[in-house]
């Protein structure tokens, strides 16, 4: 495996920015570039490992999942579309799906974008299309303006899959506070729906 030329023995894990990640995935897709893949691996493998360990994998299963996810990145780099998502979000969705397969032994139902029976965006009337764009922007603003303590209970509840009791114990908050913050967070997001809710 080729090494990056500017390597440091301690390999300070400086984070790669979004543009750099796009470029690396592009190089893997186009040129089957192993050096670019190694850089992606160093960036994402520890995150995938932490993610799987947090969600209950043992170390060897978590390492297998790292390998599965990164192999998928290698094989499907050509299908990554920077207009749809960041590289981080794309890798997250692969990790999410693989760990549902492996840790829960469940399939994940998903719509098939190639399915002719799927209602395309273009079926929306011009008014509906404008509404779609607007509600999507409102949601992103709502996500961006979540209070830090509300975002944290959402993260623990949905991303780390902690129960309300586990969140209370980990954060030393009263259970009632956990529930209130979660309710406030969801209420904040729901307001982005405006009068459509």
């Amino acid at each position: 495996m080729p090494e990056p030329s500017d390597q440091d023995p301690d390999r300070p894990s400086q984070s790669l920015d979004a543009d750099r990640l796009d470029t690396l995935v592009g190089a893997v897709a186009r040129d089957r570039d192993r050096t670019a893949f190694a850089a992606l691996f160093r960036h994402f493998a520890p995150k995938i490992l932490h993610y799987c360990l947090r969600l209950g994998a043992d170390r060897s299963t978590a390492e297998e999942l790292v390998q599965d996810v990164m192999l998928t990145v290698w094989l499907k780099a050509g299908s990554f579309d920077p207009a749809q998502a960041t590289v981080g979000t794309w890798v997250f969705t692969i990790a999410r799906n693989r760990r549902i397969d492996r840790l829960r032994k469940e399939m994940r139902p998903a719509p098939d974008p190639a399915d002719p029976a799927m209602t395309p965006q273009s079926h929306a009337t011009p008014e509906e299309s404008a509404q779609l764009v607007q509600s999507s922007r409102h949601l992103q603003e709502a996500i961006g303006s979540l209070a830090a303590n509300q975002s944290e209970v959402l993260r623990r509840s949905y991303f780390l899959e902690q129960t309300h009791e586990e969140i209370a114990e980990d954060t030393e908050m009263p259970l009632g506070t956990v529930k209130t913050r979660l309710r406030l967070a969801l209420g904040h997001l729901k307001r982005s729906l405006g009068d459509k809710a």
């Binding site: 495996m1 894990s13 984070s15 089957r32 192993r34 691996f41 160093r42 493998a45 520890p46 995150k47 490992l49 932490h50 993610y51 390492e63 790292v66 390998q67 192999l71 998928t72 290698w74 094989l75 499907k76 749809q84 998502a85 960041t86 981080g88 979000t89 890798v91 997250f92 969705t93 990790a95 999410r96 549902i100 469940e106 399939m107 994940r108 139902p109 998903a110 719509p111 098939d112 399915d115 002719p116 029976a117 799927m118 209602t119 965006q121 079926h123 509906e128 779609l132 509600s135 949601l139 992103q140 996500i143 959402l154 993260r155 509840s157 949905y158 991303f159 899959e161 969801l186 729901k190």
Partner: protein
């Protein structure tokens, strides 16, 4: 065609985006997404939120991972195709009211679900209301189809956990509104609600229930 007006609650969409939601409700959410470009965008935003949390995870722990990278060398060289992407089921294999049911549900339903109600594939629970003989249990959630003739009310029932409906054909109404193709109705435990068919053709819904469903007699006792 019109787009859905009634959507799953954000809890379900975030849970679906993060992977926290289990397979049963994910099947209903994913099928609603096939009908609803609005919720597809909403889920994409929630996936981006999860992606940002994923990016915040620690990036240390290189011990062992370098060795793993070396071990992947052979795999990369082999470059095999990922074993996934099972083919979509043919459109003709599942349609209701002459319209194909979208994936992922189409692959789950039996073929020719849109059969007459007197051939045994539907069980009548009260006049004009049927449950399908087809039933699945996924991660603790019972899934079947509910069919309501025009004007036929679903009999009073009690459920101790969430009930979810997704309209696949026709329309129904309850005290909260009117639901047509692709719409989702969500009822929390122990709420009173009175759905009844509200379209010329029978209304057919994907019906999800956590836990037990008990139909009640006229006095409100379990029938």
């Amino acid at each position: 065609m019109t787009l859905p007006l009634h959507h799953p609650e954000d809890q379900l969409l975030i849970g679906y985006a993060s992977g926290q939601e289990r397979a049963g409700k994910s099947l209903l959410v994913a099928t609603h997404l096939a009908y609803c470009p609005d919720c597809r965008r909403r889920v994409a935003s929630f996936e981006a939120l999860c992606g940002s949390w994923f990016e915040e995870l620690p990036c240390n722990d290189h011990d062992g991972l370098d060795a793993l990278l070396d071990r992947m060398d052979g795999l990369l060289a082999a470059g095999g195709a990922p074993a996934e992407a099972k083919p979509s089921r043919p459109l003709a294999a599942g349609s209701l009211g002459g319209r194909p049911v979208p994936e992922p549900l189409r692959s789950w339903l039996p073929e020719a679900i849109d059969t007459p109600t007197d051939d045994g594939s539907w069980r009548e629970i009260s006049k004009g209301v049927w449950l399908s003989g087809w039933e699945r249990t996924l991660s603790g959630t019972t899934i079947c189809l509910l069919r309501m003739a025009s004007g036929a009310p679903v009999p009073a029932h009690r459920h101790t956990a969430d009930e979810l409906l997704l309209v696949l054909q026709g329309a129904f109404s309850d005290e909260y509104g009117s639901y047509a193709l692709g719409d989702v109705a969500q009822y929390v435990a122990d709420t009173d609600h009175h759905a009844q068919g509200a379209s010329e053709e029978d209304c057919i819904c994907l019906f999800l229930l956590d836990g037990e469903l008990i139909f009640l007699d006229e006095e409100g006792n379990p029938a």
